[in-house]
Amino acid sequence: MAETPQKPHRSGGIVFGLARSDLLHEWILTTCLVMAIAAVLSPLLLLFGLKFGTIETLRHRLIMDPRNREIRPMVSKSFTRQWFDQMRQRHDVAFIVPTTRQISSTVDVQAHGRGPKKALDIIPTMDGDPLIRENGAPIPGEGQCVLSAAAAQELGVKTGDTVLAWAKRIKGRRYQSASTRLRVAGVLNPRASMRKAMYVRLDFLEAVEAYKDGRAVPRFGWSGTTALAYPVYSGLVVVVPQKLTKLEENMLVINTGFSKVVEPGEDLDKKIGFHLGRHMQIYLLTTRKPVGLESVGAVRGRLRGKGATLLPLAGPLAAELLGPGGTKVADLKVVGLSVHPGMAADLKLSPLPPWGRGQGSMAKLLTIMLPQGLKVPPGPLSLKLTRGKQTLSFPVQATEERGPAGDVAYLPSRLAGILNLFQHRNISFDPTGKEFILARRGYAGFRMYAATIDDVPKLKQFLEGPGQALRVHTEASRIRDVVELNTYLTLIFWLIAVVGIVGGLASLIASLYASVERKKKEMAVLRLLGLSGGKLFRFPIYQGIIIAGGGYLVAMAFFQLLAYTINTLFAAHLQKGESFCELPWPYALASLAATIAIAVLAASLAAWRATRIEPAEALRDE
């Protein structure tokens, strides 16, 4: 095609320069156009800002308000730890914490440890409690509490103060009370609860409940009885000099708790974990579920005068032997074995543990006979048992005597029986009293929050369904209102937004189209000077971009000013991380991109028309 002596370069730059010069030359008109676009964009940006600020905040507050997500049981029932674990696994449960019986859920509280006592509800909490978290307080730790606004007002205390909490019980005809100090870790926002309540860790509630039940709470120095763990056995070896009659055999399992009399087989030693001579009659009583000492006593009664020796069976149980500092020494199988030293010889029993019948206080029974050859570091030893997530550990004293080589260790029968109980129930070791204490079985109720308000009906259905058969209370009517309000808010926003966007679009297109129409003459001259249609096409587009960009900048400045004003004015009503008017930067960028895109579109439309006109005709139009 036709050549050119000098190749024109940077004609894009020339066109941009011309577009800019033209806008600068007509700066008053340019300002008008920029302002016209800013006038359309500012309210739109503000609308979006309010959408992301106020509306989102309100919506979030409504939808996520823990009060709307709460599910409370209407009946008291025993809920096991496993049940709570299961519920925690559900993805529609945001939070669940067990509660104790209603009766044990109040304490008397004194501000700063003096003055009048005020009765407060105590409500259990733990990490992740949305009611606490979303109402401006930290989750209370050990020795801490969080107060509702009403409770804090009643007591006249604030965050950081100390209160004295009193638990009360009736013993005989007298009231007894005991107290502990708690630090106020935070005060909830008034909207969290109208109740005069104190939020504490679950174990504090358990302590109060234990005290009301007459038990001691060594942690707080509260006196009372202790629920000690008791031994249970999974079988009984009966050794008698003479063979029993069939009737006598049957008598051993009728109403004793044992279920069957079994002739010992060849594998008896392996089954029971120790060796017995076979020169006497041996019977093995089995059981379907572990039995207590009373069953052993019942059997003993039936065999009175027959010279019988009874060896209750506990184990073998898996346990870890820990050295000083909790380092693991060995994995062991522990077996309970206690027998009168005099009897042991008659039974040809081996091994022979040195603790005899294994009686006396539990402190004396924390001993273990380790297998031969096991190397044990010097210093204190302890034994640890694990069941699921539960562990039980306690100190043990190794005897001088050693049992046969291998991994079997021997414990006094009563201790092994308690460890046997641990297979079914939670037990803790109290190091001060050197006793095993029975932990609670379950809880009377719970506080639960669904993940969202939409999950509430489903959860209610599940809990009231055949599997659970609970009756629960939910804020169903309030949820309905919230969902409705949410729908309307969203709808109203989009209606306004659509009208605003359509109006803005029309105004932007009209402004830019008009400005290109006015530039027809200049564009014709440029075309005459040799700018091709394609290059000339960019002239109004650059102008559109400059005008729209300018309009956006002005609108953004207005928006920032207004957003700042609004947020400052309403700062008191905002929580941390909330804002009444804000435009996240990806949306700010997106709105700029949309504005520029619309500007290019509008200018292209006009430019297409302008460049289609023959330059000659444009020149002669006057």
């Binding site: 095609m1 036709a2 050549e3 050119t4 002596p5 000098q6 190749k7 024109p8 370069h9 940077r10 004609s11 020339i14 011309l18 010069s21 033209d22 600068l24 030359h25 007509e26 200049e522 001259v525 440029l526 075309r527 005459l528 000077l529 040799g530 700018l531 091709s532 249609g533 394609g534 023959e614 330059p615 000659a616 020149l619 002669r620």
Partner: protein, 265 residues
């Protein structure tokens, strides 16, 4: 439409030597043979017929006629901003390179390229861009062509035209005569071989018009530029130009006007 490039070239070579220009020898700058432009507007038909128009390099050619005769239409076609309806030949030859461009076979881009580099254009009211200063207006064709070394020559040109004091003003602040001089400077700044002027003196008084005409002629002669000037005022160009073309207008009926280009000898 009926002409083919080969036919055009065949006829071209013997003619160009036979019809050499009186001032400068070389190939014809414009060759228009049997060109027709037909325009229809609101039921009115206007036809411009050019049996033959051949312009040699360096010539000063006047196109004279009353308004409505089609002289601006012709000028637009010569300026490659308007396509003829049909033509046996319509070509422009660049004197410097000898390269011939056949308008009937060119697309818009190609025409824009030729226009950019080879043509200067002076419009009735200057056609200056109001948003650029006088200097930027004059330098614009150079910038579009990517020429950066014309500063000294342009300064000379401006001095000759007597507008060197106006360089940083915007066109709106100039008088009509000054504006036309700026337009002439712009048309010549990038040294095109051809300059087209559309009634360049229509907006100024008679004396200024003559001054402008003389300056224009002098400059184009010095620069060996082929100048085609449209005017309605025959007295302005009489005795000054190399050649004059006129229009014979025939009204066939109320709606149909026919105009034919004829050279006045």
């Amino acid at each position: 439409m009926e002409n083919t490039p080969s036919a055009a070239v065949d006829r071209d070579s013997p003619r160009s030597t036979a019809q050499a220009s009186p001032t400068t020898p070389g190939p014809d700058v414009y060759r228009l043979i049997n060109v027709l432009k037909r325009r229809e507007k609101g039921g009115n038909v206007f036809e411009l017929h050019i049996p033959e128009m051949v312009v040699g390099p360096g010539q000063f050619v006047a196109l004279v006629g009353a308004s409505g005769c089609g002289k601006s239409t012709l000028l637009d076609m010569l300026a490659m901003v308007l396509r003829p309806t049909s033509a046996t030949e319509f070509s422009i030859t660049v004197p410097r390179t000898g390269r011939q461009h056949h308008v009937m076979e060119m697309d818009d881009e190609a025409m824009a390229r030729v226009r950019m580099a080879q043509l200067g254009y002076v419009l009735q009211t200057g056609g200056l861009l109001p948003f650029l200063s006088v200097r930027d207006n004059i330098m614009l064709p150079c910038r579009i062509n990517g020429i950066n070394d014309r500063r000294a020559e342009v300064d000379m040109l401006v001095q000759r035209l007597g507008i060197s004091g106006q360089m940083s003003k915007k066109p709106a602040h100039l008088s009509g005569g000054q504006r036309q001089r700026v337009a002439i400077a712009r048309a010549l700044a990038h040294r095109p071989p051809i300059v087209l002027a559309d009634e360049p003196t229509a907006a100024v008084d008679k004396y200024t018009a003559r001054d402008i005409r003389d300056e224009f002629k002098e400059l184009t002669q010095q620069m060996q530029v082929t100048l085609l000037m449209v005017t309605h005022d025959e007295s302005l160009v009489a005795g000054v130009v190399d050649r004059t073309f006129g229009f014979k207008v025939k009204k066939l009926n109320d709606q149909h006007t026919q105009s034919t280009l004829l050279e006045e000898k």
